[in-house]
Homo-oligomer: 217 residues x 2
Amino acid sequence: MAKKSPQKTTGPKPRYSREKIVELAVDLADAQGIEAVSLRAVASSLGTGPASLYRYVKSYDQLTELMVDRISAEYDFDACTGSAIEQLVNIAHQGRGIMRRHPWVPLIVLQKQVMTHNSMAYLERGLLALADTELSAAVKLHTIAMLNSLTAAFALNDQKQDEQQEASAVNEALQTGAYPQLLRTLSELKQPLDRDDAFEQGIRTYLHGIGVGVGKY
Amino acid sequence: MAKKSPQKTTGPKPRYSREKIVELAVDLADAQGIEAVSLRAVASSLGTGPASLYRYVKSYDQLTELMVDRISAEYDFDACTGSAIEQLVNIAHQGRGIMRRHPWVPLIVLQKQVMTHNSMAYLERGLLALADTELSAAVKLHTIAMLNSLTAAFALNDQKQDEQQEASAVNEALQTGAYPQLLRTLSELKQPLDRDDAFEQGIRTYLHGIGVGVGKY
DNA sequence: GTTAATTGCGAACAGTGTTCGCGTTTAACT
DNA sequence: AGTTAAACGCGAACACTGTTCGCAATTAAC
């Protein structure tokens, strides 16, 4: 029942480690954005060249998956109590926090099916919350997948909101009168919308619509 | 009231055109994926080098935005009738079809705020559908943005579903007993879920939850 | 005919992920 | 103790990428 050692026989002791590499990559991504995470940058922050990393990581793509897996450890699933909906909302809320701390996460989880331990634990915990519902297996899986995707999509919209630059070309186009509704709506804008509320309400009603809330507790 | 000509005075006539470039780029992306769309590839399918494209396009990023703008012309907004929800569901349904034909679209719209003509027309049409509701301006804008994001997120999940590879490492992990819910749910899977229905229902209940359906018609 | 603006684009630059091959280290097996 | 074989470290190179520069060619206006 050894953990993982087909043979740990010969060869020099590894000078680095997968964990350390992923940690440095995450730090780099948090500090300077995911586009700053190149194998060269990670390797050089480790004091070596890019080729060395391939002893610990199969490809750049795998590195990004491992990065997602690492931050997925930040979930605290013990804190999820209450009804099925309440548990899932809690998970989503935590996810939102995580994606705020690590803005590069949403794009990765949206495009790749990450199947590493912590990501599977996320799935597992979501399914546990749905265990007592009447939903079919297929719907359960779909629900958890969408929970994660929704959180990510929302996080990306937050980012777009923050870095929104009003290009003068857009303003010109608005003045042509081609977009009356848009022009009017923009002029009616007063306060900028509580995005935390909108998120929680969006998640809650989405889950309710799927039928998570039928046999509530 | 000339359209756009500060001066169209001197110089040789352009040999190519922005439209043709974007068209070729879209064709390439449809046929071989967005990763096959490099400036070199587009240029060479045009019979020239990459530097030539910069007379028509500011950057690779702008090219991708123009690509999205081009496929956004495939929306038929005249076909949207009925209540506010019904109109938005129709738009979302069209978006789903578009993103199925052009699988590279979701990732771009999720990460960039595309503000070109056809994309603004999408926004405009969505706001028109919401014009008679009691929603605040901020909520209206947020609703249309989420409509687009939801469609894209769903499309990406479809893609993941299709190209899902069962890595043997994952199966091993399942057999360890660390993920009982996941194991059980996967074994209970019978039919694979009608994703078209799930999409439409998801959109519909999401919109309803926001309050689009209150003053229905 | 001169001038000035615009286009086409080869060449080069700085960057990327990835592979190869060789030297070195280590442990196991004679 | 000597041999063998597996694992590690990593410089060098490869095939790409987006982007910039500079200059020749073209065109229209003065």
